[in-house]
Symmetry: C2
Subunit: 182 residues, 2 copies
């Protein structure tokens, strides 16, 4: 329900209606929305772990640039598929409800671990503010995926067909290379 409709009408009544049961059961078994958020957070962390698993299994990248390219493109694919994570991103800035905050924390923790594991001993080239650059790259990916899912485009760039997305992948690849080298 969160993945499909977001956090707009997310409440006890709507959940119970959709689940086909009485809302009282939500209070009895989860202790209200707070407890339910806890459960959803745990579920999301598990799902995220499963999604991240295959991405770490390939051959280790040879350079920091190659690593970041892999990371960026992987994140793009993962976000494109996972509508719940899109919604979390979309609602992060709009309505930071306790539920959203909880889910963001669960996601950030898991993502950080993954990044750390994959980085290993690779170092960015000197003279480049890698954390800032990476923040810019990740931020753009998040924004573009969210806008694509909401409007099918961003700032005049269409993001609907596979060709559109391939174009974006190429641009991201070129951008990462021009920052960190091949």
């Amino acid at each position: 329900m969160l993945a499909e409709e977001g956090f707009a009408n997310f409440g006890v009544n709507a959940i119970a209606r959709r689940a086909g049961c009485d809302k009282q059961l939500i209070y009895r078994y989860y202790g209200g929305l707070d407890g339910l958020a806890e459960a959803i957070g745990a579920d999301l962390a598990a799902e995220l772990t499963a999604d991240l698993q295959p991405l770490s299994s390939g051959p280790a990248p040879q350079s920091y640039g190659a690593l970041m390219k892999h990371l960026a493109l992987s994140l793009l694919e993962l976000l494109k598929r996972n509508r719940l994570m899109q919604q979390i991103n979309a609602w992060e800035g709009a309505a930071p409800s306790p539920l959203v905050v909880k889910l963001i924390a669960a996601r950030a923790k898991r993502m950080g671990q993954w990044m750390f594991e994959m980085r290993g001993a690779l170092k960015p080239p000197p003279g480049v503010d890698a954390p800032a650059m990476n923040a810019i790259i990740i931020a753009s990916i998040q924004q573009l995926v969210v806008s694509a899912s909401a409007n099918g485009e961003f700032s005049g760039m269409a993001l609907r067909t596979d060709a559109d997305w391939r174009r974006l992948q190429d641009a991201i690849s070129a951008l990462v290379e021009s920052i960190y080298g091949p």
Copy 2:
């Protein structure tokens, strides 16, 4: 009110309460929320025009790279200051209500005009997908400003103090240069 609280509790009752008048007046003078959105849209367009005005008055950039750097940094400053525009960006992906859609359209139109005027005859270097690159740059700026205003950071990069923002400016400058040249 939109700038401060966003679109979360934006309704006839809340507006009337805040304005210190009866909600009936909103229906009488604006024809409900739809008409009010129209008026706000027009107001936003005017405000945006005023904000964009001084940015176009400087010396014309010498290269496409210099132009884009100027555009990106200007957009960053403008967004940082204009909380209403932050809210619009934040709510674009979350809850595309008719009001948000109207405001987005009003903003996109004005921004497009501005971009077109400033570009003039400058051409990007060959072999670079400039629209895609620009979309990435603008997307990252939007996401970073929204996250900064909501959380004070993004993906582990703090965005609170002036020094933080200067660091981001430097990164954006370096990034644009590495794409388009100096």
